[in-house]
């Protein structure tokens, strides 16, 4: 187990400089990056929207329930929901979901190309496949994941509002007062740092799993699953490290 992990780590470290080498043709890379941004960004918008709105609603309802009976002002729920969303829920939950949707898709797509000899065909043409297949996806993740996380945080707060105000838990004024209370912009920075790191992690792990897939449909399925599992573990690990470093 340890030997295998070290083997993959070593191979990954050797692989990264190939990804970052100079592109052969900037226009082709640009075109591919745009395609990936559309696939990763627009393609994930709906699921991120749906998950965020419900998470926001549930967070508000449950905090309101747990704070019942304490002498804490009711508008604090808005404040707690906002900070929880910014610091933890929006970046972490969104990226765990994206690891499942985008990560498995990336691993399966590159793995399929590897198995159908598309990657070999590109290599023979003289294309640096590590770079051409990974760099556009990496840039797309670096740009789109933080945007999706920002959207998720806004939608989550709207979800919290819709889940609690119309049902009579608080008044609209109370909730909005809570959302505005004790705002610290550093929390937004933390959210963006997390989104950026998680985006890089899920992209590189998934690309690696797809690029080094072995032959056979079983292996393709395995690599896709591995991409999601390893991304999730590394996202949670880096979540902890960022929390320690930035707080």
């Amino acid at each position: 187990m340890l030997k295998r992990s070290l083997f993959h780590f070593g191979r990954f470290i050797q692989w990264v400089p190939q990804i970052l080498s100079r592109p052969e043709n900037f226009r082709m890379y640009w075109r591919e990056t745009m395609r990936q941004m559309e696939q990763i960004g627009l393609g994930s918008f709906l699921i991120v929207f749906l998950i965020s709105i419900f998470i926001g609603a549930v967070t508000a309802v449950q905090f309101a329930y747990q704070l019942t009976g304490f002498t804490i002002p009711r508008y604090y729920v808005g404040y707690i929901v906002r900070d929880m969303t910014l610091i933890e829920m929006a970046p972490t939950i969104t990226c765990l979901v994206l690891a499942g949707k985008v990560g498995s898709n990336i691993a399966a797509e590159i793995g399929g190309m590897q198995q159908k000899e598309h990657v070999a065909a590109m290599e023979i043409m003289g294309v640096n496949t590590s770079s051409f297949l990974v760099l556009p996806r990496l840039i797309a993740c670096i740009v789109m994941v933080p945007i999706l996380v920002c959207i998720a945080s806004i939608v989550s707060m709207i979800g919290a509002y819709l889940g609690s105000v119309p049902t009579g838990m608080f008044t609209s004024d109370e909730f909005i007062r809570g959302l505005r209370a004790f705002f610290d912009s550093y929390h937004v920075v933390m959210m963006l740092v997390k989104a950026l790191v998680f985006g890089i992690v899920l992209c590189l792990v998934s690309c690696y799993q797809g690029y080094y897939v072995k032959n056979g449909s079983v292996e393709l399925g395995k690599s896709s699953t591995q991409a999601v599992v390893i991304s999730n573990i590394l996202i949670l690990l880096s979540d902890y490290l960022i929390a320690v470093l930035l707080t």
Binding site: E24, N25, M28, E117, A121, I124, M125
Partner: protein, 253 residues
């Protein structure tokens, strides 16, 4: 011309190629034949640089291909075309985009020039008007023709074909062989074909190498195939009693 000297390749304990020495001539159809597991695909992958040999040298004319740096390797590869067994067409691109891909990546031609070149290549493989079709809409034979068109779009000096007739009927295989052969002769390129197809051997085999157990056990042309006394080649080509009888009657005549 491509020349290989004392090529050896091992995977772990298993030695697949055991010191191959072969020459592939310019303007000729050079065929690599042999039973499954004889090392044909491994040899082809070494020839195009997808695998590194354990030892030995591959010469592209006077260039040692095995010792090239990344930049030089890329330059040589731009002179190489390859047709894959499964065609390896990019599913997300249509036929024209597939063929144009190497030009988009490396050529400084204008869009109009690229489109003209795509049309010319499609005409060469008799697929005029298929520009907007996607690989999924084409038959296996048509996909192979698109693969050929893509492999010749940058006017390569060396063409490699891995099992070009696998999955095709004998008549279509014959047409495909003739197409590859005419491209080879017209453009005076070095073509190396990895095949199991005995029709190909007898139709276009200008220079045939038989691999067996990691060694090149026979080399000759299609005429010599019929008269050779090499037992390994006879066992391979005339594997069935019917073919053996056919050969005997042919030689008698």
């Amino acid at each position: 011309m491509i020349r290989i000297e004392n090529i050896k390749k091992s995977f772990g304990e298993k030695e697949v190629l055991k010191g191959l020495n072969l020459e592939f001539h310019k303007g000729k159809n050079n065929l690599i034949i042999g039973r499954s597991g004889a090392g044909k695909t491994v040899l082809l992958k070494i020839l195009v640089g997808l695998l590194q040999p354990t030892s030995g040298t591959v010469w592209y004319d006077d260039v040692d291909f095995t010792k090239l740096g990344k930049r030089d390797l890329r330059e040589v590869r731009m002179k190489v075309g390859m047709l894959f067994q499964g065609s390896a067409l990019f599913d997300s691109m249509n036929v024209a985009e597939n063929i144009r891909f190497p030009m988009d990546m490396f050529s400084t031609k204008t869009k109009k020039e690229k489109d003209m070149r795509v049309d010319l290549c499609l005409e060469r493989v008799e697929l005029e008007g298929a520009n907007d079709k996607y690989p999924g809409e084409l038959s296996g034979g048509m996909q192979k023709r698109v693969g050929i068109a893509r492999s010749i779009v940058l006017e390569p000096k060396y063409l490699f074909c891995d099992e070009p007739n696998s999955g095709l009927d004998p008549k279509t295989s014959l047409v495909r062989d003739q197409l590859i052969s005419s491209i080879t002769i017209e453009n005076n390129i070095t073509t190396v074909i990895n095949t199991h197809d005995m029709n190909s051997v007898m139709e276009i085999g200008d220079n045939i190498a038989l691999l067996s157990d990691g060694h090149a056990v026979w080399q000759g042309n299609k005429a010599e195939v019929l008269t050779t006394e090499n037992q390994t080649l006879q066992d391979f080509i005339f594997a069935s009693p019917f073919l053996l009888k056919l050969r005997d009657s042919f030689v008698k005549d």
